[in-house]
Amino acid sequence: MTPPTPLRVALRTSLVVIVVLAIQLGIAPGLSLFDVQAELPLLVAIGAGISTGPDRGAIIAFGTGIAYDLLLQTPFGLSALTYALVAYAVGGMQDSVLRAAWWIPVTTASIASSVGVILYGVFGTVLGEDLINLDLLRIAAIVGLLNALASPLVLPAVGWAAGGRGRSMPMRAVYR
């Protein structure tokens, strides 16, 4: 199968990001659990890392973060910074763990989501937002759970959009 052209990847990725942002802003607040909502743009960033590796994953994550930052009143660039680093880290891990059993990407997404929330809190605090407290751990844990539930929908969508490497690999754990 020939890989999709860069233009097609850009269009598909933009489409997925727009849909995810619409869901994040329009639907996720109504589906909160203990007053915490899923962070779907962060899941897109993680999916980009999983699908395309650290390099392209970080770029897609950065773009997703910028788009999300435009729609929030939090420091502009904070989501972009956090997402790029999370996608880079997840993408780096994918060099060691390629296609895997279904639960490995889900678990990766869950843990990376929690780490991403904590990283966001740390960076936010450095920028004077005062986000490091016990509540941050609670939010991180619930976001990890909610993003894990959303990952079977979001991760394949991001994989389709970004035209990730190894898409046709068998769905079995393969460790290098």
Partner: protein, 280 residues
Amino acid sequence: MALSRRTGGRSRLTIALLVLSSLTLLTLDFRDAAVVQSARRGAATVFSPLRGAAETVSAPFTTAWRGIADYGDVEDENAELRRQVEELQGQAVLEEEAAQQLGELLPQLDIEWIGDIPTATARVIAGNPSNFSHTIDLDKGSGAGIEVGMPVVNGAGLVGQVVLVAEDRSTVQLLTDPDFQVGVKVLPGGATGTARGQGHGEDLLVDTGLEDDSEGLPRTGDAVTTSGLELSAFPGSIPVGTVADLRETGGLTLELVVRPQADTEKLSFVTVLLRPVPDP
């Protein structure tokens, strides 16, 4: 091996460039660059229909989910409301006397009546868009005369301040936002200070500069209103909350814990005070 090393080097260069770009954007934002605000206004305007469509389509599901996830809270709230109704029925007979006392107190407290300020009533069309954001979106914007900096209230008191305005939509920073600050006055003592938000569902903190042995210390239950000092974006006498606690700070001064009057978690309609925002 050489290919892998080259790929790793390129990845590191990519992430370094992205981090630098992020830091540049953060710096621009901290310097209040007009381009950032313009981009945000544009994004809010463009994205508004998509967001509205998502909200409309998902309304039945989100309502059902709230029914499941918040069932316990709804039951508690119902019981609390029943208790309040009974209490209010009992207090109704005292209302007339209370109104008379209020009429006597107002002139003493120099309360500025805000009824003359033009207002725009708006519907809350979106809540917090993320776990770290403390904003709501309204269905009215510059078309209704709303400008950045205008105070937002509801029947209970101060709700927040407008921070972003598009033609038919505006964004309000809630008073619970840790970046939110407002000058306040404690009644009846008259102590002044700055109230700061502490996050979702948290009380406000007011540093009054008062010491333990200061005269006229505020007491639990005292009312807190906006001070309306010169150049403040907020007119005076908007109810902010009530003093829930007094506690010592790291220094010698006391800090007030203030329970907000307005419930920012359950807002349907709010009123924007169309008051010219003073230049800082």
